[in-house]
């Protein structure tokens, strides 16, 4: 690491400000706390919000896992992990969820339940679910303050009218602690229930939009729905109604990504690569790490 950079790349004042914003976010679940988002040596849109959260929290005793769309080895995850290794000498990194204390993720929450000692940091492009119905930030702030989400709910109504169901696939608006509705970042519907009464703290960082928010542990997180049209997760059934299995590990319980293979056509595979490895390890008896 070249001389002149502080541990964690950002100066201590910057990290302190962000930690204070995090505390405020935890104290007001779901409330978007504005903060001075620093310039990072990567473009906005590549996880600078999540990165700033990680850098503010990470210490020498932490073990970090970075995933992107569930995979540790995707380009962005690799890039971020290497940057953190470079700027935080002495910090361990891992691909095993069970070893991690800090998990930074883009667009997925791990399949296996988190533990109370862990903190999940999600990268957020657009923090405000109301942006689709109201362009003025002033008005949006008032709407959040008064929990006035009728216009958002109308969007759901219109979906049901047109398509007989709510068609939002990711970024599903979710009400935290019975007041603020958040955009939980582009995680699939599959992952939204994990926010509810989570054992671990879940933080959300939007670098470009300069907002931090949180779903604290054991907090109510309810995806918006109607009394008679409940929230549903993705359905992985095939044409005859059987639940599809991962082509690699055979699991019928995980969130599956769809790939097109030249010979086999459409194949389905676990999105969470660590989970998939864990399933294979169980099958071959080598499951020690996947406790």
């Amino acid at each position: 690491m070249s001389a002149g950079y502080n541990f964690g790349f950002m100066d201590e004042h910057a990290k302190k400000e962000i930690r204070r914003a995090i505390l405020k976010a935890i104290a007001i679940p779901g409330y978007q706390v504005p903060y001075s988002s620093r310039e990072m040596p990567m473009g906005r849109g590549f996880g600078t919000g999540g990165l700033q959260l990680t850098l503010s929290l990470i210490g020498e005793n932490d073990t970090l896992k970075v995933i992107d769309q569930g995979a540790d080895d995707s380009v962005n995850a690799v890039n971020l992990r290497q940057f953190i290794e470079m700027t935080c000498p002495g910090v361990d990194t891992t691909t095993y969820l069970s070893e991690a204390t800090l998990i930074q993720s883009r667009h997925r929450i791990p399949e296996v339940a988190l533990k109370p000692e862990q903190v999940l940091i999600l990268q957020v492009p657009y923090p405000d679910p109301l942006i689709v119905v109201e362009p003025s930030e002033d008005k949006r702030k008032m709407m959040h303050g008064e929990a006035d989400y009728a216009r958002l709910l109308v969007k759901l109504y219109e979906d049901i009218v047109k398509f007989d169901e709510i068609t939002i696939s990711h970024r599903y608006p979710t009400r935290i602690n019975r007041h603020y509705v958040i955009d939980p970042s582009p995680i699939p519907r599959w992952d939204v229930p994990k926010l509810n009464h989570s054992p671990a703290l879940i933080l959300f960082g939007a670098g470009r939009e300069k907002k931090i928010y949180a779903v604290p542990p054991h907090t109510l997180a309810e995806p918006l729905a109607f009394d008679d049209v409940p929230f549903r997760v993705e359905d992985f059934s095939d044409e005859i109604g059987n639940r599809r299995a991962c082509v690699r590990c055979g699991s019928r319980e995980s969130f599956l990504d769809e790939f097109t293979d030249e010979t086999a056509g459409k194949v389905y595979q676990c999105s969470d690569s660590d989970y998939c490895d864990g399933q294979l390890a169980k099958q071959s008896g080598k499951e020690a790490v996947y406790a």
Binding site: V154, V161, D228
Partner: protein
Amino acid sequence: MRKILEVRNLSKIYGRGCSRCVESTGPEQETNICPHCGSVVAIHDVSFDLHEGEILGLMGESGSGKSTVVKNLYFDQTPTSGSARFFNDGIAKDMFGINAAQQRYLRNHSFGMVYQNPHLGLNFGISAGGNIAERLLMSDVMHYAEIRTRAKELLVRTEVLLSRMDESPKNFSGGMQQRVQIAKALATNPPLLYLDEVTTGLDLSVQARILDLILEIQQELNTAMIVVTHDLGVIRLLTGRALVMKYGRVIESGLTDQILEDPQHAYTQRLVASAL
């Protein structure tokens, strides 16, 4: 008849205002604009009572301030001074003393508003049914089928073609847009409805149909209404009592038929005589 609304000394001044605004404006000075500071005294010292199930007319020409009165009572604006009390089941609420969230609650549950310009009352980005759904959602109805049924009921009642329920109102005729507005305003069965020049600009036959509708609904639901208009025919047809306004002041008030047949104030006499 129980009181539902009590308005006292309501005033609205646009601009910084000065100590001479009030005395330099009004019907005698023939202006709303204060010559000393340029502020606009839109309304001054407006007081009246409204009872449950009653229809009150606010009559006047452009600049009279009649629309400003209802805009303030609907919380679209904040008055400069004055007070208003709303009575619900005998409990009075100080309308301008409660906080914004409480005002929004009143607005969503107890009031309805129909504007002259449908763009103010309707969201053209969503369907006609969606507009009504929005109002129901704002009053905490969270059951989709119930919302759908109620929206259909209201559209049928206001004679909007059900087949167009899921279309945006932007392609509707003016009369139909107004009827969607009325349906939306009535969604929560509000005890008080504000109607701001709702038929102005519409064809006469369309006007007649809408006025009919308003009166029928009022008889069915016993909704109290404040009807803002410059049209004497509308006043005569809909209202039992009326206020005549000029340059922001109330210059005459009384029973509607008395104001139209035995106007006391010179301006009212001129107004009534000018009716075609």
